[in-house]
Symmetry: none
Subunit: 188 residues, 4 copies
DNA sequence: AATGAATGAGATTTCATTCAT
DNA sequence: GATGAATGAAATCTCATTCAT
């Protein structure tokens, strides 16, 4: 009933906000934009999220949940190396979005840091989740000692590749760097 | 005379704008901010740059000149590999700024792309200059065939490292990735 | 409800804007002026009309509707000649306003043309509506062949009289020219 | 020497100002516009005219002188009726300018009246000069009693025709009304 | 509770006028 | 005296947030 309706509205807001924050950046996104994108009337946005920052916070939490869900999913694969391969493959699948808008997690963290938003740290944890996850996988691969640096290398390459793919128009760039990362990963 | 006075004011504006655009992001920076940071009265900013975008454009051009000057400077070193080493070393020197504010060139390109600013492409060329430069060096090293991919790898690593260093608080992160890049470069 | 509230505000804005545009000219009228004259807070003006030009456009449309309503009203009179007489009589009724501020339709068209406003053409149609209307009446009077020129003469005289009445202080000027026009019209 | 140079600069300013005031309207014309159009540096404009209004005043005076010069010129023609014909012919000669920008004298008077400029009255005298002149000619034609009304009719028609020609795009409009005025004048 | 309208602080921009050399 | 630069008040426009129904 009402609670369900409320849930749905909140869900619509989160989905729309994630999207427009990603594609336009947070500073360039008005709550009107979010309202329009979600089909929720502006006044109603404030019913669910008292401030723009509250909505940003909710989006970050949703991202965290998404990321964790992704980790949970690949846990079904018993091979830690293959788990890491999955995310390289995801990069290929999302190539067009990544080229056009960059990595959403890096983007939100960057945006908030620039506006000295207190949520910046929270957003920063989005990429840190990846490092931790990667580190765990390398540890499982029997490389406990170098796991941290390997994880950092893995994420650095992914993020560097996303950044450059987003920055430049070079169509094959992302593909080439993902291939290289894959080879490197296989060699570990 | 007047021309000198004008040059000086414009220089002050460019320096201040580069700085605040880098530290706050373009969208979060008002021309009042630039005016204050430069000591130039707001009305006068518009005498020198008719719009905020004109100022942004001038900053991009200044960045291009700076980058080119850096390339020219390292040309004095006859060894292409050492030239590329120089910029790794620069990353170490600028560690604190990079950690706190990220790479200014990537930042301005990202900001403009998000606000669908027509200058985005121009800003994107800032990183492309690096790729080209690196490619030339690898070519000089007798690796013409792989030069492009090597250059991309070099820049991807640098930018990935800057991005993650900026994102996370991890103090040794940048150092570790720069060291790794250095080893990789030596091995080429 | 909300829609009614909105209509009312928009109506207040239109009425106030028509008036101040007429009395001060468009270029000399700030939206603060309109806000004050209408009792609507400045920020809210922009809720209803996204730009000053949008408001100007709405005022032109309102003028068109007013003019058309005037035409519809005189259609009740079966004699085309008398219909045209009505507007001469209207000139007498509005003598003071016309002397002090000129013809609002000519004024808005002139203002927009001078500022190279794209709406200038739209505003120009205000006077063209009068020519067309007059032409129709002369056609109904059995003067289809000369109707166009007669209509132009009718409007030229009216507008010339309004212009001069507005320009000079001569109190009887408008009266004299309207009388002359009336005689001319009777003779057709 | 210097005085001559000053005269020349002042002349350049007057010519340029007359022109841009006419084509853009006074409110839409900045002193930068005048400076650029005249080739005189902005700072120098203020050396010759302490305020924008001073320049407007000078332009009005120049217009007065021009008009008077026109009157003086046609005095060479012994026939008062032909003198009035000359100005109808002038309307034909200046057709394109009149269609595109309207009558400069009516325009400046209108502009100043709208901005409640104290010079409005002074500008209003520009058209009054025409009425007086026309009245004199009709008096010379032995129509002393009706001279005033005939003069008003003459100017009303001219100004009405200019206004409508400026307002609408109708290419033949001005021609038709000037022909009609000519016939009317011949019949007097 | 739901929502279109209202509000006000602040951002960009313009420009007549003054300043400094 | 001549002139490019500087100034500040004011205009247009934006938008997070609050209000009123």
């Amino acid at each position: 009933m009402n609670q369900e309706r409320s849930k749905k509205t909140q869900e619509k807001l989160l989905v729309a906000a994630s999207q427009v924050f990603h594609t336009q950046g947070i500073a360039n996104t008005t709550l009107q934009d979010v309202a329009r994108a979600s089909g929720v009337p502006l006044g109603n946005v404030y019913y669910h999220y008292k401030t723009k920052n509250d909505l940003v916070h909710a989006v970050i939490q949703a991202h965290k949940a998404d990321i964790q869900a992704g980790f949970d999913l690949v846990q079904e694969n018993p091979d830690p190396k293959e788990r890491l391969m999955v995310f390289i493959q995801n990069g290929r699948k999302n190539k067009l979005t990544l080229q056009e808008y960059g990595c959403p997690y890096a983007g939100i963290a960057y945006d908030l840091e620039k506006e000295k938003n207190p949520l910046a740290e929270e957003a920063g944890s989005l990429l840190e989740m990846w490092i931790e996850f990667a580190q765990q996988q390398f540890t499982l691969l029997g490389k406990a000692k170098e796991a941290k640096e390997l994880a950092e290398t893995y994420i650095t390459t992914l993020q560097g590749a996303y950044l450059l793919a987003h920055n430049s128009g070079a169509k094959q760039f992302l593909e080439r760097q993902l291939n290289r990362l894959e080879l490197w990963l296989k060699a570990q």
